[in-house]
Symmetry: C2
Amino acid sequence: MEKQTFLKKSPLFYGIGDKEAMLRRLSGGEQVYERGERILSAGKICERIGVILEGSADVVREDAEGVPVTVARIAEGEFFAEAFACSGRALAVSVEAAVRSKVLWISVCRLFESGGSEILANFLRVFAQKNVFLTERIGHLSRHSLREKVISYLHGVARSAGSATFQIPFDRQGLADYLGCDRSALSAMLSRLKREGVLDYYKNSFRFTEKLG
Amino acid sequence: MEKQTFLKKSPLFYGIGDKEAMLRRLSGGEQVYERGERILSAGKICERIGVILEGSADVVREDAEGVPVTVARIAEGEFFAEAFACSGRALAVSVEAAVRSKVLWISVCRLFESGGSEILANFLRVFAQKNVFLTERIGHLSRHSLREKVISYLHGVARSAGSATFQIPFDRQGLADYLGCDRSALSAMLSRLKREGVLDYYKNSFRFTEKLG
DNA sequence: AAGATTCCGTTGTCGTTGCAACGTAAAAAG
DNA sequence: CTTTTTACGTTGCAACGACAACGGAATCTT
């Protein structure tokens, strides 16, 4: 992805007149990382937001026993470390290049000091939206049984779609990760709900058989 | 809490020269709500951020069966609806006054249009920090067993404290809610970890007996 | 001081779910 | 077309955890 493409498509730069000039004001440089190379290390303070222009990167968290676990993948055009950089908190995760990747860095202090109100407003909107998504996911994860987790999630999607028929953006493994459960347990619960007549589904298309809350 | 106290203490107005003038620019008015009165309704678009100047409010979410569940309480000096208002998304929750309460409203469009860079940067920092907290909680909630949830959480606190001895800001029920589990199951797990020699604790004071990851 | 209330740990039961293993179907690679 | 890989569902099992109920300790109230 070219820098121009990113500038054009990213909500961070939406409505900014001279996007390239703005990026020059905010730029913290570009850098290429080889496959497997460490981009950011947990525990460090990061003062830049990273944008993946080419390639992809893995977010790695160390669990309690010190075993590294990949918790997310950053794809082309997406960014990372934004919350840590903007809040000034130490990184809780590390980031590694999954393949040879080009990263565009955005300096947070320049954003705060020489960025305009428009771009700050854009960042605020993006953060607020992410906030809503995270809170939503917490709502599902907080349920005490798998059945409730699944129904809570599917109802949420149905409500967003405004219809009892809807599609989900996950495959089974992805949904299991999102809901913090086992894939096979999820499959079993889905077919149980189908058997009970609550749901019907085929692949990623779902339909609530009963009335919608 | 007086408006001046809020302005002085809130990170939203940190470093703003004339805080009162800024608030006048952003103000969406003040309003008093009686105990039990609906402040915001799920499904609506909200264009203001609410600040509780006096009293407290409950955040109520409707579960899949339509049963209202209180998911959080907003205390004096805290704010609510900020993520929905700033992202422009419809409210996923309702807010009701827990007691007779006074709410200060902050207009988001004025924040975006006539607010300065400084205050936008403050909001951005606050959102980013909340983002980090939410992500942290998701990390704990995503674990597949209660044992892992508890250890993940406690290790996180220990790491923040930089010591194997630390205090937690929850009572047992509060921690159970945070981790999405049953209180008695949590108690049982804690005493099991103590019995196994992993942990030691008394009330809210904890200590890891083994090495810290 | 006595009673009421809250908080916490324990126990027992039963449904649940993580986990490993397997089979099938579809998709991708060759 | 054949082989390989990936995605899903199913099953069995053992461990787990939600839930209810209880008792004790500490705190608050009167």
